[in-house]
């Protein structure tokens, strides 16, 4: 608290306290020093003084002691009465026995205390001292003195009181003098503080502190005054800048309001564009908007013509009659529009007459244009055109103005892009429609194909049922004949019946076999057993088979057997089936007594077997169709008969051998069927080939029951 209160004291108070404390401390120290010096001095001086007295007494008492004159000694001692401090004095003989004694009246209680000769001792308020009495070099006794120190202490006390009083007086005087001196020191400070307070309280910077001297305080006051002046100046400057700022804010607000208006206009234009206003109308409105908003005489929209070297005045305001939609400006660096277009950035012209970037925009010069600006309208692939605003008087365009015109240009660009997008959409629609039509046609074709295929199948099925029914009907009929007439008919007749039943059965079996084979091939489960085989043997075996079969029709199979083996990798049974089929076909179309010619040719490219008959041949348009399933040559239908599956099966088998089968008409008449097989292929690779064709090992190892049955039946037959 004390520290606080000192801290809060006035500057003057603090200085005064400081001076007083320094003076006080110095005085106290001085007093202590004086007292100490006095004390030490007296303590040293007293024994010396007392010793002198003792020595005098001793000297005087020597004779009395020598001659045993007690009275004389006592009288001598009584001489000490003058010194009021001495309360006990003794003259002692050599063995310290008291010879003569003096006691100050009133101090009878004082007793002698032992002190060695030549020494002294302080005890309480007393000083004891003993000095030897020496006579002619011989110690004959001693003098003992005892002094009361109370007077000495009393003196010290008095001194202390005097010092204390003096000190207080000095302190008071010193403080008084300090106060006077300090007033000189603190007055400028107080004045300064007052001035500062006045400034702070009233914000009155005209206040100045009075300067009393030229010392540091004077300098401080001067500096303070200077500082206040500066603050005053700064205050004025601040006020001024505040006013300027307000003005700027006002201007800025007005600008923002204008900006808002411009944005509203652009938004309106955008609205128009969205609501589908025609581009021309939109351009006209944009020009009016630009001219009104920027308060310029001319506004224009130029469109880059497809040629790319000229701009058409698409819309405008203020231009001479007949120019809008007709005038053309060069898309070169000469014109402002061209310049803008090429550089792709907004161009502002302060004064066209001083312009150096482009040479001579005739349109602008004709209309006495002075200032102007132009921005690019972006298009799909590069600039679409230019928007421009021009004034006849000098006018400067700010960033806001550029932004505004750019916004208008962007709205237009958006509208244009929208129109382009619409066109693109229409084109895409058209394309799509075409494609749909095409697809529909395709589908209808496919449908027709499917329908015709279905038709063929139905026909085939009808044919098939007829074909199956025919031999079955034969079998049943002759069997019934046999049963009815078994007892009546002749054995020849019965044999004939059986033969007929057998023939019909055979035919039915072949038919069913073919159907089964085809079904198997179609489902991909036909099993082939490829191995290196002599093709001649196969041909010869089938030839022999047919030789006897065709003997009744007198048809001859002529096989031009080559020399040596014809090693070909093939499935012997299947290839035999092919040859059998072709021979059977050839025989079927050969007239009785005709010849079927079989030729074999072999070279590096493979082996080719040709079988020629001398029948009516195959109509040209059916040369390929005969190999189709369920299709029979028109000639076959007319008379020859058959399942219509044989050639289909042949083609399946040959193609499974990676071979080729086709039909030609011989120039000399008759049909020629060719089978071409590739050169010898390895069994292993053949098997791999089959697997590659999608037949699983299970398909190969597990022959289907119908096929087995058919084989068995045929062999039995």
């Amino acid at each position: 608290m004390a520290v606080l209160s000192i801290r809060d004291m006035s500057f003057k108070g603090k200085l005064l306290l400081y001076a007083a404390s320094v003076t006080g401390t110095a005085l106290v120290l001085c007093c202590i020093a004086v007292m100490a010096a006095e004390w030490i001095g007296l303590r040293r001086e007293l024994p010396r003084h007392l010793a002198t007295q003792a020595e005098m007494v001793g000297m005087n008492a020597s004779a009395a002691l020598t001659f045993d004159d007690r009275e004389a000694a006592e009288e001598l001692l009584r001489g000490l009465k003058a010194d009021q401090g001495i309360i006990l004095a003794c003259v002692c003989s050599r063995d310290t026995t008291v010879f003569a004694k003096y006691v100050r009246p009133g101090s009878e209680d004082a007793t002698e205390e032992p002190v060695e000769a030549g020494g002294h001792r302080f005890s309480g308020n007393r000083l004891h001292l003993r000095r030897a009495i020496v006579l002619d070099g011989e110690e004959i006794g001693s003098v003992y003195l005892q002094r009361d120190l109370r007077d000495f202490y009393g003196d010290l006390k008095r001194l202390a009181v005097i010092l204390a009083v003096s000190m207080l007086v000095a302190l008071a005087g010193g403080t008084a003098v300090s106060a006077r001196v300090l007033r000189v020191l603190t007055r400028p400070v107080t004045e300064l503080a007052k001035a500062a307070q006045a400034v702070a309280r009233n914000n009155d910077y005209s206040v100045r502190a009075v300067k009393y001297s030229t010392d540091e305080l004077g300098t401080l006051t001067g500096t303070f005054n200077d500082m206040i002046s500066q603050i005053e100046q700064h205050d004025d400057a601040l006020r001024e800048s505040h006013n300027t700022l307000e003005q700027q804010v006002f201007e800025r607000t007005a600008m923002l309001a204008q900006r808002t208006r411009q944005q509203a206009s652009v938004a309106g234009l955008g609205q128009d564009a969205l609501s589908g206003v025609e581009l021309t109308e939109l351009c006209d409105r944009a020009c009016i908007l630009v001219a009104e908003t920027l308060e310029v005489e001319y506004a224009k929209i130029l469109e880059l013509l497809p040629s790319g070297d000229a701009l058409l005045l698409r819309a405008g305001v203020g231009w001479s009659e007949g120019l809008v939609r007709h005038a053309v400006v060069d898309a070169e660096l000469d014109s402002q529009a061209g310049y803008t277009l090429i550089f792709g950035e907004p161009v502002v012209v302060e004064d066209l007459r001083l312009e150096t970037r482009f040479a001579g925009p005739a349109l602008l010069r004709d209309h006495d244009v002075v200032s102007g600006m132009s921005v690019v309208i972006a298009g799909q692939d590069g600039p679409w055109g230019v928007v421009g605003a021009h004034a006849r008087s000098r006018k400067s365009f700010g960033k806001e103005d550029i932004d505004f015109v750019q916004a208008v240009a962007n709205v237009l660009a958006g509208a244009i892009a929208g129109r382009v997008a619409k066109d693109t959409l229409a084109r895409a629609n058209e394309e799509l429609e075409t494609r749909v039509t095409e697809r529909t046609a395709e589908l209808s074709r496919a449908k027709q194909a499917a329908e015709s295929a279905n038709q063929a199948k139905s026909e085939f099925l009808a044919n098939m049922s007829h074909e199956i029914r025919t031999p079955l009907h034969g079998i049943l009929s002759f069997a019934r004949f046999g049963k009815d007439k078994a007892l009546k008919a002749s054995p020849e007749k019965l044999l004939d019946y059986f033969q007929k039943i057998d023939a019909s059965g055979q035919r039915l079996l072949v038919l069913l076999s073919d159907i089964l084979d085809l079904a198997k091939m179609e489902s991909g489960s036909m099993r082939y057993e490829f191995k290196s085989t002599d093709l001649r043997a196969v041909l010869r075996s089938v030839q022999n088979e047919f030789q006897s079969l065709l003997a009744d029709r007198n048809i001859r199979v002529d096989f031009a057997e080559p020399d040596g083996e014809l090693r070909v990798t093939l499935d012997e049974n299947r290839m035999a089936q092919v040859v059998r089929n072709l021979l059977s076909n050839a025989a079927k179309f050969s007239p009785d007594g005709g010849t079927v010619r079989v030729d074999v040719h072999m070279d590096d490219e493979g082996v080719r077997v040709s079988i020629r008959d001398h029948g009516m041949g195959v109509p040209e348009d059916e040369l390929e169709a005969v190999f189709d399933k369920f299709v029979q040559s028109s000639t076959t239908r007319t008379g020859a008969g058959g399942t219509g599956l044989g050639l289909s099966i042949c083609r399946e088998i040959v193609e499974s051998h990676e071979g080729r089968i086709w039909c030609e008409n011989h120039p000399d008449g008759g049909a020629m069927f060719y089978v071409e097989l590739p050169p010898t292929m390895q069994c292993a690779s053949a098997t791999t080939q089959i697997e590659a064709l999608g037949r699983t090992p299970a398909d190969q190892s597990e022959p289907s029951a119908p096929r087995e049955l058919a084989e068995t039946v045929r062999h039995d037959g």
Partner: protein
């Protein structure tokens, strides 16, 4: 001997008064003879040099006996040894030595020739001491007197001054100062 003297000095006056006898009185007197030397100043020509013995002479019948010798034995006055000389007037040689004494005790036996002695030693710095009554006032210098059982001494300051001997104020203060009755007694 000092111890004996000291022992005596410590005696209370009452004891002293009762027990004082001739022998003790003689011992005190012997000590006094020696102690006078400390309180009397001799002229410088009384000694040849600083170490010249201090001579105490006894003229006539010696009453002290050995006690005087024991008193001064091994004592010195300043740097001077103390010598005792016993002299006889009858011997011519002894008479000649009288002048060389510094302190001369004149025994009571010589009281009848005091005039002669005084005359002989006139102007010589010899301290004359005797037991004889009225010795000091009769022309001597220091005379022992028994007073109230105490031995005190009378001093004749004129005689001392005549012999150029200076008595210490301290000594004078203790002594009984007497004036000479006459300059010389002719007895």
């Amino acid at each position: 001997m000092v111890a004996v003297a000291s022992a005596w000095l410590t005696l209370t006056p009452a004891v002293c008064a009762q027990q004082i006898d001739e022998a003790k009185a003689l011992r005190v007197k012997a000590a006094y003879l020696y102690n006078f030397a400390k309180f009397i100043g001799w002229p410088s020509d009384a000694f040849e040099d600083e170490e010249t013995p201090f001579v105490i002479g006894v003229l006539g019948d010696d009453p002290f006996g050995r006690s005087l010798d024991t008193t001064v034995k091994a004592k010195k006055i300043g740097r001077r040894p103390v010598a005792i000389q016993r002299l006889r007037w009858s011997r011519q040689a002894d008479r000649a030595k009288l002048e060389d004494c510094h302190v001369l005790y004149i025994s009571d036996s010589e009281r009848h020739r005091l005039g002669e002695i005084f005359a002989m030693l006139e102007d010589h710095p010899v301290l004359l001491v005797a037991d004889t009554p009225d010795f000091a006032s009769g022309g001597g210098m220091i005379g022992f007197v028994l007073e109230e059982q105490r031995i005190i001494f009378e001093i004749n300051r004129e005689a001392l001054e005549q012999a150029e001997l200076r008595a210490s104020a301290k000594l004078l203060k203790l002594a009984k100062i007497v004036r000479p009755k006459s300059r010389r007694t002719g007895e």
